[in-house]
Assembly symmetry: D2
């Protein structure tokens, strides 16, 4: 018999029960639901709305229920709709009358909002920890691969030579902002809805600051209608996840490219590769393909939440029950993406010879040559034009810029002098970079040091 | 040991296995996978690529495996990655050597594309059947509630009186187009990828028309690269589902409004209502709120698929493994939405008295009055203006249009005559409609008859 | 002739020019582009990469160009591709040779990233200002409508009575978090990409901290590859806008409902209503319908940006040119939504009599009655059940709870006493609320005071 | 003065006017609006609702207005809200009284639905024509590049050798299904809403079949409420565009990869390339990057439309005004994507030598070798294993499969014989393919011939 029985004479149909149940997924909230109930019962007792004895029965009963759930001994019942009613009804089965007082000055509306905020808070903490793991893996990879120069790309065309470390640290930066977004979200959601009840608060003498504080919230939410009706915190959370997923999808693309025969920069270990059921020679970087692909569902999840909330009137509407699955899916997915990306980083090796051999292609030193001319006083636009013609000359002769003779160069501009050869060639070019944040060795070394310290790694 | 063992010396890590497995959900393809394997084995035998004995062993083995799965006796193993390898490996366990020939001239790339198209085809058939159920429920509801006039709304403002039947049939029309979209999708996806192998076809003497025909496809896909790399059929399917979900979300909104105290048009039975854990008087139309809300995830699912496929190079990429869960989720969701909407339609009653009492509000006959003036030869824009002033007069006097005296009306235009009162009042107004497709009684009766016949219901 | 002329011998086709141009929309960046160029030129001069004379020519030229653009005298040319090249080329036309030095140690990659961050920073400031305007309008509306009780809804069913002020302040709370999100985004994006050049930095002796500081950024971005390739700041911005748009869409829904004949809570002034071309009596709350509807495009915009960035390799790719239009559209839309919502708030009146007359319906005092029983020591679940039966009794008798006699009540529970009538009726019910954040008069008054002070309004 | 003047005493505020106007974009419907008005006026005259003289004045007036618009002489006024009222008001200015009769038995609700369907129908025809152009360009490219073998990829790892023609035709197939989707959408939307009026039809003696037929619709829509409230046709249209955009984004990715230094398969002409403002050597395939990138906004557009319609009650709501901009944007974008993709196809050359030189890498003949063993009677799984070991042997020796001696091969399986060398090497491998739809020369030739005929190209 349903909890709202009083004025109802008939049960819902099977189809409706199946369609409206949430227990199949919201049971994942059980720890937070029990934690919330503990805080609520203690407050009720303190405020005289429940006896100490009843409170103790409830707390003991909740302990037992939590134990059973953890051990897989608890039977979840779909006819009890959701995690809240399953636990409350089981508590009644277990301890009888006192359990009926637990829902005093509480509605499922404020209860679920509380549970869900607690859950999201924990999830954010887990993700942030895993971001750090990923950053550590990337910094380790950078430390292990000092000195490697790779082509830097724009438009997937070779652009300028960069240090591999510089590329790896770009992702460390991006994920760091992702962590920042999550922590901002955490701070903004960390307010307590408990006591907002159905939507209007209550006339019973509850003390919301007590429960808020017991649950480690910053303070109670100020407006009870707002407290039960808004899910902006969940959307913000999934937005932050989506941006992170996009960052990781770009890493996925990068490493899939780098693993290809054509790029050939990295070889993944067998531990992070898979093969083909038909083509015996294949060794595929599947984990990073899936990192790229799974970003799609993280985006789908936030779209679901946004669309869900659009145009709903105040306050709680049953539509909001649909808020949890996208959040659970997004969290599970990004945790996996982070874990596997870190694992991939720990299981690849760089093909230094092959990278080095391929470096001369693409005239990566052209911009350095233009800078050379600027050093000599030529306006940049003019330098750009001269170097453009130098490259055209190379294309005609099928050679590198450093292979042009001084006479050839001088035929394009009399400014060229012997010292030009100190600017040509990939190694020379990369050594010339010096601006803050650039790929120059010292700049990158100092960036690396920054991260080693920030991440608490022992300096190497 | 993995199926691609030859050149691999190490297993993937646990995290990678967890992240890349698909068996937790793609086992839902088992029936279609087995069906495909049956057709493939029979073709291989016919083409001399397998003996009749081997084929018979395989077919018997597949029967046994299907039986076990159906009875829940089959153990799905994550280390066997996916449904295809689970079944093939179980077949090898069961019948030994012959099983090793089943994957001849087949790759998981064409195999999964085949399974997935078969699955989608069946899913479409189920959805189309349920659309019909829903349409029948709506037509039944219309038949049972003949003669009721309700306000028609634009901008959620009362606009013109309409027959309730007319409103209900609008949804029947919309869902009918949804079925059309699904059937177009079905026809377009019903081509067979089997035999495309990894991406390039094969040199073994297979006969693709034979498997295509055995699986009731229209014909084999013409281009093997296209066959394994595209998922446009799945996106089209989910797009059609999304449009249908939007239609149902609008029905959800409509019925949530109609169930409110303020509208008060319908009372849902207890069988499709739920109550509140805190407010004893509440009776909520939750199923229709969830119909509205669940449209969001159907949209999220198609966004996932679109984003997933964006920018992938040819041919198969592991990202595509992520194609199934959104499709499964979308299908499950729309099946539920349709079922519950039909059930709701069968469990509501219209509050005729209350509807009737509320009809005079909103000047629903104003446009009919303007048409009256047009009948009398007044240009429409001028009529519109005269009626606008009549309404202003009513607002001032707090009365209905039919309460204005002829003198009052004539003060706005001398054209008004006694016969004007045949056009005023909601019943008069609704009776005046006569254009094809309008809310006039005869028009609606003929629409209703059209649907009764089209849906194969006995005319009433 | 294009700026990259050196190695090119042919112009792009017309179709390609049309397809790849961005000047039709990125000219909106002109102020920020010029501001960036001023800072860059000053830095180059300070660092000896340009003479003081050249710098002064450039600064004067930029002033003149800005003047011309502002006055509509500037001719934007599609063959000059984008805002950067239009301005640089015009500068060359205007001042000749010195202009060719402006692009020293700068690429369009870092230039556009700088412009775009500056633009977003300004846009956020505008939106935050308009949020405050909206909040002020809502608080004013609340102040003007003290004492009005309206039904509070869950599931769009009447739930409990609430003060109108309480409802209005819920939206003030929500928008306040939106402002917080925008300001967090502002702080996170306020780092300077200038000097990252194409992707690797430069070997020329620039001083990035100087330009960063001149442009009021917190500091230069640390990693040049990250600086030119990431657009996470734009996605975060549009995510925040989307959440706000969802909040406003809910307000739109609320006010559309309240304007309906059925709810009848508010009457919008003509100044914010529109009529019908065919139905003379109509007066529609179009602005709020559009507020609700336009939330859709704000969501579409963020989906565009997320999808755009998915799976792109490092560093800059031309795809990123598509980042601006969704941002411009989102900003323009939310500015309009905020403005019109505030204007609507200033142009509605509440129909107090009608609201009051309708209040008895829906048993809004049922939960208060349950609390009464809790006060008397009945466990909540039991109270809930008793009140459920009381409501059923009312339904049978078609009366309100307060109309039940004490005997009737006592037939359900002997606990009921004369004092029960102090808890029944909407006014009594609303007066009983007392918890923090509840709809009790004192709680709401203190919330209102909080906002009056926070928004800097004179206390009333 | 607004058209709904009668009961209004005040104009909307400037902010509301700015926010609610649609004339800035819906003027693009002018041709279809005028066409609809012509049909409507003729019908009204035929039905005796307007004199022949009035009809002729109206038709002449509409001709003049269309002329003015086409010549840019027409002044669009924001205070006249939208395209419909601008044209009707201009007609009144021009011909006076008769113009006031044009809106008889018509509302903007059915008028805009009619215009929009006509517009979409034309847009579909344009897109389908451009799909054909694109297909022709691809087939031409295939014809010009007969005989080239390229690596086929799965997981972006080299898989099997394929004919370049086979790859190109895969895209021709995909776009053909896109055209099919658009034509299905066209057929489904080609029904006439005109005469549905505001939502309920009319009592005036109109003849909807006459206008429907004059406007080349299949027939009038059956239900007037459905006719004015649904936008499923627009969502279906944008869904089809999205799927096509995804196909083109994959082509974009493919060609960006192929243009890279690392792949080096194609060289785009200067006519479809752009350079860099800072790096003089760069030549970027920008048009295809933008084809990839612009797919994002096409997806954003359909998300906007889906979200827009979610949860709206019947019938017309002002939200629906927002339906046009996403459709216009999607259409403009896909037209550009198709045009530029075709142009790119006409402006690339394949680097045959380089492709050929790179072919040996990646063991593309491994699967053919496995098929060889199957031919010899080895079960496929066993063959796969033997070839896996052969590849491992090659990796150890850093050689190709064809470089293994017969003795070496026999050490893995005694089945290997001299004839194995007819299966090894890329040319041999590609020649072995023979299944329907495979990359075998004859199969591809027949596919090519199919397309040449279907597209009406002269057979070559």
């Amino acid at each position: 018999i349903k909890l709202w029985g009083g004025r109802f004479q008939e049960s819902v149909t099977d189809a409706v029960e199946r369609f409206t149940e949430s227990i199949s997924y919201d049971k994942d909230l059980y720890k937070h639901d029990i934690r919330g109930s503990r805080a609520h019962a203690s407050m009720l007792a303190k405020q005289g709305l429940m006896s100490i004895g009843d409170r103790d029965s409830i707390l003991a009963g909740l302990d037992e229920i939590e134990r059973r759930i953890r051990n897989g001994e608890f039977v979840w019942r779909a006819d009890r709709e959701d995690v809240h009613m399953n636990i409350e009804a089981a508590l009644t089965d277990l301890i009888g009358e006192p359990a009926k007082k637990l829902h005093t000055a509480r509605s499922r509306n404020d209860q679920v909002a509380t549970d869900f905020r607690l859950w999201c808070r924990d999830a954010i903490d887990s993700i942030v920890a895993r971001i750090k793991d990923f950053q550590v893996a990337m910094v380790d990879l950078a430390v292990k691969n000092a000195g490697i120069i790779v082509p830097g790309y724009t438009h997937l065309q070779r652009a300028q030579p960069v240090l591999l470390q510089h590329v790896l640290l770009a992702f460390v930066e991006q994920l760091d902002r992702d962590a920042g977004r999550l922590l901002d979200c955490r701070a903004r959601l960390n307010f307590c809805p408990l006591g907002a009840c159905a939507l209007a608060g209550t006339g019973l003498p509850i003390e919301r600051f007590m429960t808020s504080s017991a649950l480690e919230f910053s303070s109670p939410l100020r407006n009870s209608i707002d407290a039960v009706s808004d899910r902006d915190f969940a959307i913000e959370f999934l937005s932050a996840n989506s941006i992170m997923a996009i960052h990781l999808s770009r890493l996925g693309e990068e490493w899939v490219l780098w693993s290809s025969e054509e790029f050939g920069f990295i070889t993944p270990n067998d531990a992070v590769s898979t093969g083909s059921s038909i083509m015996p020679q294949k060794k595929n970087p599947d984990p990073m393909e899936l990192v790229r692909g799974k970003s799609a569902r993280v985006i789908g999840d936030v779209v679901t939440l946004l669309t869900l909330c659009k145009g709903l009137p105040l306050a709680y509407n049953r539509d909001l029950q649909e808020d949890k699955e996208p959040v659970f899916d997004s969290v599970k997915t990004v945790l996996g993406m982070l874990e596997v990306s870190a694992e991939f980083a720990r299981n690849i090796s760089f093909n230094q010879d092959r990278i080095k051999k391929a470096l001369p292609a693409g005239h990566l030193d052209a911009t350095t040559l233009a800078d050379y001319l600027v050093h000599k006083g030529i306006p940049f636009r003019t330098s750009h034009d001269i170097v453009g013609k130098s490259v055209a000359m190379c294309l005609g002769k099928n050679c590198q810029l450093k292979d042009l003779s001084l006479n050839e160069l001088r035929s394009l501009s009399p400014i060229f002098d012997e010292d030009v050869y100190e600017f040509l060639g990939v190694e020379n070019a990369v050594n010339k970079f010096s601006s803050y944040g650039s790929t120059g060795s010292e700049c990158v070394a100092s960036q690396l040091q920054y991260w080693i310290e920030k991440l608490g790694l022992i300096s190497q």
